[in-house]
């Protein structure tokens, strides 16, 4: 019986049906739920890696060793893992390797909206792109087959709208999909195939990429691409849907679904294998229609290649290079191009509404650090995680944020440039294990007096509370954690302090001392994530007599604290009783509702 699944659940199910044995990856919206689902299936070694490159190499090692392997990441994760994509393209594999790159057009939760289909062309590997959950399952299985048939890693490109949309998926008798209620099998029970009779293939010319051998591999890669292009001509991943000959549309991914609605009568060439392209199929399709339009989100990836074939086509002339497509946007552009009618609706009246941006949660430890930084005013180089919200009003306490792991190096560069500000780097625990250790060693090695604050909430909160090496457990909930302070001291830092960031006085004093120290130092601000632990104590209240409405508590940027109609108040449902507002109140007007003075 078919089952309604998200794109990510369907990728996990497809990988299981394909007999995947080893799966790794690093959390990142919109890819995260793939491994969270896959871990529920038996016979698979499913793990979080410290970062995407490490995860990619784990998958490569497994695929070299003869086990089908999967690695998952968001689009920018493939930048981190790019080295591994390129060498594995040269080496090929023994068993199938599928790399999920989950792109984020519209940047729902990302710092850019790069189009990772280009990585396929760049690294000369095939790219497969589903347009709903059923295809996510089927194409994942196909991708393993292609990987083995052509001895090549295969990119499975999804986007947010595919990963996080749900639709019906065919299921296989005897291999039911697993869901939220199925507990992960213990790691000790997997992998079932570890029988010990399986030797690693010692094929140096294939797997050792020294120049002499790599030179032999490059022609293999080029010749493989030619064979893949020939395969694309007849692959079941590409599909012609005949329709009206006036308008032909070449499209892929979720844009296909929108285009079917906006152009219900047109002819379609829907590409599931989006790289390399089937030149002959495209020429034949183009010859059969009067006007050829290309509908694809983000870059003109298909369009550029199709034009290089000498085929006349229009696309980005009408359709945007930026932001996620929606059926509305597509219809409006199509109307401007004279390709579709636009329906008229009665207007909706009214002025702009106040927005509702995400904020640090009530009780979040990060707030304590950012309030102190807001007061002490060093320049703060940020990184990526929930704590990036420290950049938002009213704290404005982060001044750069580029990509994961960038903050510490950028801080060192600013310090070396001789700015008059004290220079601080803030980095989350997951980000620290991901890409913070090498730059921190660099700070120490070059003796740059940067203070690094590790915001340790013991979990990867931003992406939905995945474990990391500091959490004390693996994806299966087994294993042991890192001793962060011990590691920092062993690295060679002489000044390492740990604070509870909601202990305002201590945090202020310690960070001040570190800023005054002319040496590389580290503060570990440790407080378990309030959202994950559902931290809740008696809420706080404002004594209206003592309160002078000075607004200091509002500077914390907590949703529970408000100044409505001129008076300060604390929402008793939203307040979780962390007490930070009581600690910073100059009038001591904030009190616990239990009556105990703070």
């Amino acid at each position: 019986m078919p089952k309604v699944m998200s794109g990510n659940e369907a990728v996990a199910y497809g990988a299981y049906l394909a007999g995947v044995r080893v799966a790794s990856g690093y959390p990142g919206t919109p890819s995260t739920e793939i491994l969270e689902n896959l871990v529920r299936y038996p016979g698979i070694a499913t793990e979080w890696a410290t970062n995407e490159k490490v995860g990619f190499d784990v998958a490569v090692g497994a695929a070299y060793a003869g086990a089908r392997a999967l690695v998952t990441m968001k689009h920018v994760g493939l930048n981190v893992a790019a080295e591994s994509l390129f060498y594995s393209s040269y080496t090929g594999l023994t068993a199938g390797l599928v790399v999920v790159t989950a792109d984020d057009p519209g940047m729902f939760s990302s710092q850019n909206e790069q189009d990772n289909r280009r990585y396929g062309q760049f690294a000369k590997v095939p790219v497969v792109e589903p347009s709903d959950s059923e295809e996510a399952r089927r194409f994942t299985q196909e991708a393993f087959a292609i990987s083995e048939q052509f001895d090549v890693p295969v990119l499975l490109r999804t986007t947010t709208r595919i990963a996080h949309s749900s639709s019906a998926v065919e299921t296989v008798e005897g291999h039911p999909p697993r869901g939220r209620r199925d507990a992960p099998p213990s790691r000790r029970e997997t992998p079932a195939w570890r029988s010990g009779d399986h030797a690693f293939p010692r094929d140096q010319q294939k797997y050792v990429m020294i120049p002499a051998y790599a030179r032999m591999r490059h022609p293999v890669v080029e010749e493989r691409l030619t064979r893949l292009a020939a395969y694309a001509e007849t692959s079941g991943l590409n599909q012609v849907i005949p329709g009206d000959r006036e308008l032909g549309i070449v499209t892929c991914g979720v844009a296909y679904q929108y285009a079917r609605e906006v152009f219900p009568t047109a002819s379609f060439l829907k590409l599931g294998l989006v790289y390399p392209l089937p030149a002959q199929l495209i020429r034949t399709f183009a010859a059969g229609v009067k006007r050829l339009i290309i509908v694809e989100e983000l870059d003109p990836f298909l369009e550029e290649q199709i034009r290089l074939l000498g085929v006349e086509a229009e696309g980005k002339k009408f359709f945007s290079l930026t932001d996620e497509y929606t059926p509305d946007r597509l219809r409006n552009w199509a109307a401007q191009a004279g390709l579709a009618p636009v329906p008229e609706f009665p207007p909706v009246p009214g002025a702009a509404l106040p927005g509702r941006p995400p904020m640090l949660c009530p009780g979040c430890g990060h707030r304590g650090v950012f309030y102190v930084l807001h007061k002490l005013k060093p320049v703060v180089m940020g990184d990526i995680g929930c704590y990036t919200l420290g950049a938002a009003p009213p704290l404005y306490a982060i001044h750069t944020c580029g990509c994961m792991g960038a903050g510490i190096g950028v801080a060192q560069g600013a310090e070396r440039a001789g700015v008059k500000d004290k220079v601080v780097a803030v980095i989350g625990d997951s980000t620290f294990y991901h890409s913070g250790m090498a730059p921190l060693v660099n700070v120490l090695w070059n003796n740059s007096p940067v203070t690094t604050i590790i915001l340790d909430n013991l979990v990867t909160a931003m992406t939905g509370h995945q474990v990391n090496p500091g959490s004390g457990a693996t994806l299966q909930g087994e294993g042991l954690g890192m001793d962060l302070e011990r590691m920092l001291r062993r690295m060679g830092f002489s000044l390492v302090d740990t604070v509870d960031p909601l202990d305002y006085e201590t945090t202020l004093r310690v960070i001040k001392r570190h800023l005054e120290t002319d040496a590389p130092t580290v503060v570990v601000a440790r407080r378990p994530c309030a959202l994950q632990t559902r931290f809740r104590e008696a809420p706080y209240l404002i004594d209206p007599v003592a309160c002078t409405s000075c607004g200091t508590c509002l500077k914390l940027g907590c949703v529970a604290v408000s100044k409505y109609g001129g008076t300060m108040s604390i929402n008793q449902e939203l307040c979780v009783g962390c007490g930070l507002c009581a600690a910073v109140c100059p009038q001591k007007a904030v009190k616990s509702s239990t009556g105990v003075a703070n």
């Binding site: 309604v4 919206t29 919109p30 729902f108 939760s109 709903d132 947010t160 709208r161 996080h164 949309s165 749900s166 639709s167 019906a168 979720v254 679904q257 929108y258 079917r260 609605e261 929606t326 059926p327 509305d328 219809r331 329906p343 609706f345 009665p346 207007p347 909706v348 009246p349 009214g350 509404l353 106040p354 927005g355 509702r356 941006p357 995400p358 904020m359 640090l360 949660c361 929930c386 919200l389 009003p393 009213p394 931003m462 992406t463 939905g464 959202l531 509002l554 940027g557 949703v559 604290v561 408000s562 100044k563 409505y564 001129g566 929402n571």
Partner: protein
């Protein structure tokens, strides 16, 4: 009840209000009633108290996971201000069910903006909707045991307009809600179902 060929829903609320569970239930109920379905939602930043929205589509063959403006049959607002963002998606003559419940956004908390009045929100939505049904869902859910069941109260009310058998709703709630909350959510659904629709449905 007659069976429309397609029904599109927009559910809008604030992170943490349970829009995802409600849209899961709605999607599954449509599927088990013989519709093709698609559901779309965005995870990520929205967990941190930001606006959240999900779209559910039922039809004979659903293609886009997103509803086009002017085509949604139902707008379900879990919070008043969030409901006010979506009327342009309603089809003329569509129906809005709005929880009479306010969560102030930061700009209102700090006094930099006003929370729009109920009449203003009603006027906006009524520019499209044939009816705006205001429901004290959070209050009802709190009375039943937990305000977080408000979303399922709204689903119960919505069920009065949908071609889905009661047993289907019951089994979907049973299958999707964590076991210890099933009883609460069943009662929440029944409470919504028992509300008198303003149009006599």
């Amino acid at each position: 009840m007659n069976r429309p060929e397609k029904i599109d829903f927009i559910l809008a609320g604030v992170g943490g209000q349970g829009t995802i569970l409600a849209s899961d239930i709605l999607t599954e109920a449509g599927y088990r009633s013989g519709y093709d379905v698609k559901k779309s939602e965005v995870h990520g930043m929205s967990q941190r108290g930001g606006s959240v929205e999900s779209q559910v589509r039922w039809g004979s063959a659903v293609r886009s996971p997103l509803v086009e403006k002017g085509r949604a049959d139902f707008l379900v607002g879990f919070e008043m201000l969030e409901a006010a963002r979506w009327p342009a998606y309603l089809a003329p003559g569509g129906l809005a069910l709005v929880n009479r419940y306010r969560i102030f956004p930061p700009a209102v908390n700090t006094g930099h903006a006003d929370y729009p009045a109920e009449e203003e929100i009603d006027r906006r939505i009524a520019a499209r909707a044939r009816l705006v049904w205001w429901i004290d869902a959070t209050g009802l859910a709190a009375g039943l045991g937990h305000p977080a069941a408000a979303g399922v109260v709204l689903l119960g009310a919505l069920a009065n307009y949908l071609p889905v058998a009661d047993e289907v709703w019951q089994t979907v709630v049973q299958d999707l809600v964590p076991p210890r909350h099933v009883d609460l959510n069943r009662r929440a659904f029944a409470a919504g179902r028992a509300l008198a629709c303003p149009d006599g449905r």
